[in-house]
């Protein structure tokens, strides 16, 4: 076969290590030319491809506990690539790549119907209600590898796909087709000061993501690692972002479990 082995890029975020500092959010914004407005306190229209949510165990003082949960796009594989957003897009603006497992979003193709936003159970998609405005001079820091978006289109995390492209270019120059694990890393992974994010190919047994989560191919990639879980596991979205936590209440808050159910015991 001419094609190299299909990749399935995924992420593991260790919630025990995540400090909620927000560096991943800003690293993402800086890398991907994410716009900003004077008032970003309405979180419904605040574009954050990577967003850190705060979870709480709901217990009263002093037993209350908090956990931070960074949420990029989950790059759901669904059932054979039928991720929720891809299957509803009428414009072929978003697609699931079988080569990388990455859900793409083409801004110039998107006409802003926002079906995908309604379909995404993770609120990972954002709509540009306004044209982006960079204060005079600030457009100088824009990254040429990512095109700035316009009003009226949806955008979301791309697992820094442009970094994949650049890494491939470098590999081609050296006469290689395959990338080493560290050659393609997302901006958030690179920035995380706690080292809480691990990124790599879930299909590749030598990659850390595979070793940490031990995805179970018989059960749509469900983690065999008892500390690992995925968000809304039972929805069947088959996401490629995994979380690790040693706290049970955190793992349980990944889905709407009934008291007698629990993560990992669902199937």
């Amino acid at each position: 076969m001419k094609h190299e082995q299909a990749k399935k890029y995924g992420m593991v975020i260790d919630l025990d290590k995540c400090t909620g500092c927000g560096a991943c959010m800003v690293a993402c914004m800086a890398e991907n030319n994410v716009p900003f407005k004077e008032d970003e306190t309405n979180k419904l229209d605040s574009i954050t491809w990577m967003r850190v949510y705060q979870l709480t165990n709901g217990k009263p003082f002093p037993d209350t506990d908090i956990c931070y949960l960074p949420r990029p796009c989950m790059h759901c594989e669904g059932d054979h690539g039928h991720s929720p957003c891809v299957s509803v897009c009428p414009a072929t603006a978003t697609d699931y790549s079988m080569d990388t497992g990455i859900v793409s979003q083409i801004y110039t193709r998107c006409f802003g119907c926002r079906y995908c936003m309604a379909a995404c159970p993770y609120h990972a998609r954002y709509f540009n209600w306004w044209d982006p405005v960079w204060p005079n001079g600030m457009e100088k820091y824009l990254n040429p590898n990512v095109s700035p978006r316009m009003r009226g289109v949806v955008e979301k995390c791309s697992f820094c796909y442009h970094r994949y492209q650049l890494a491939k270019d470098r590999a081609f120059m050296e006469g290689r087709r395959e990338l080493e694990e560290e050659e393609y890393q997302t901006a958030c992974t690179q920035a995380c000061p706690a080292g809480a994010i691990v990124f790599g190919d879930l299909n590749n047994k030598t990659h850390r993501v595979h070793q940490i989560v031990q995805p179970d191919p018989a059960h749509a990639g469900r983690p065999k690692n008892p500390k690992a879980f995925r968000l809304l596991e039972r929805l069947g979205t088959n996401p490629k972002v995994y979380y690790l936590s040693s706290r049970e209440w955190v793992r349980r808050s990944g889905d709407h479990y009934l008291p007698h159910e629990g993560p990992g015991g669902g199937h």
Binding site: Y96, D169, R170, F172
Partner: protein, 260 residues
């Protein structure tokens, strides 16, 4: 009652009896003739507008800041196009050379060619970048990897850029007034007809070549007859024979491959 009716009938007959002799043929010919005439006028005028005037209006013509002689330069360098349009170590493609590169040879004018003297006095001496107009510049939503095409697939520059290396003068740069892009993207031919692979640089042209390559790869090792039928199946049902679809919606690599 009846008398009146008859008379009226007779009048009517007389009227119609008279007119066919004098007017009808002429009027009839004239009416259909003029309809045809105006139809033709409209047709020809709009064809003229569409084929001749519109392209003239659509594109503004710009001269390159320096009339560059590719042929002359290609003769003098060792590594062909890549002597000036080179790959960087990180796999990115340098594209149009920057002034610093030109200065390596042209710190001072080497000939008394007026264009070279203009280049040296206006740009080199003032250390000002030359505002070259790039014929192949794509809109910002396009990602194109030179490394993948030139290094991995070992294509040559001419396939997409044409025999520009043989040119002795810089062509007039025609800029689309609506899109701001070069005419070379759509192609010289306003109807979009191309004779050579480098005549157009639109997405369809990328797709065409890629489809050909994919079919060629897929049918390697197939018997001629089998290949013929398989090709039909491949065109009708993309992805069905390759064993693995490369994407869900387009069946043909997700859009991220070429778009950013």
């Amino acid at each position: 009652m009846s008398t009146n009716d008859d008379k009226a009938k007779a009048d009517a007959l007389t009227d119609t009896g008279k007119q066919p002799e004098q007017d009808k043929p002429e009027k009839g010919n004239g009416a259909s003739g003029s309809i045809l005439f105006f139809f033709l006028v409209g047709l020809i005028a709009s064809l003229l507008v569409g084929w001749v005037v519109f392209p003239e209006l659509l594109y503004s013509k710009k001269k390159q800041p320096i009339d560059f002689n590719h042929a002359l330069h290609v003769d003098m360098v060792d590594e062909g196009c890549e002597s000036c349009h080179f790959f960087r170590e990180d796999g990115s493609f340098s594209g149009v050379p920057e002034l610093a590169q030109c200065i390596e040879c042209h710190e001072e004018a080497q000939t008394d060619h007026p264009e070279e003297i203009k280049f040296v006095t206006q740009y080199v001496e003032k250390y000002r970048e030359v505002p070259w107009l790039v014929y192949s510049r794509q809109p910002n939503c396009v990602f194109f990897s030179h490394a993948a095409h030139v290094r991995l697939a070992e294509m040559d520059c001419v396939t997409c850029h044409g025999p520009i290396g043989e040119s002795t003068h810089s062509r007039i740069y025609e800029e689309n007034r609506i899109t701001g892009l070069s005419r070379d993207i759509w192609g010289r031919n306003i109807a979009g007809i191309k004779r050579n692979s480098w005549d157009r640089m639109k997405m369809d042209d990328c797709a065409e070549c890629h489809a050909e390559a994919a079919t060629k790869t897929a049918s390697e090792g197939e018997a001629p007859i089998e290949g013929f039928f398989n090709n039909i199946i491949r065109i009708a049902f993309p992805g069905s024979l390759s064993g693995r679809k490369s994407s869900v919606q387009t069946q043909n690599e997700a859009c991220f491959v070429c778009h950013k």
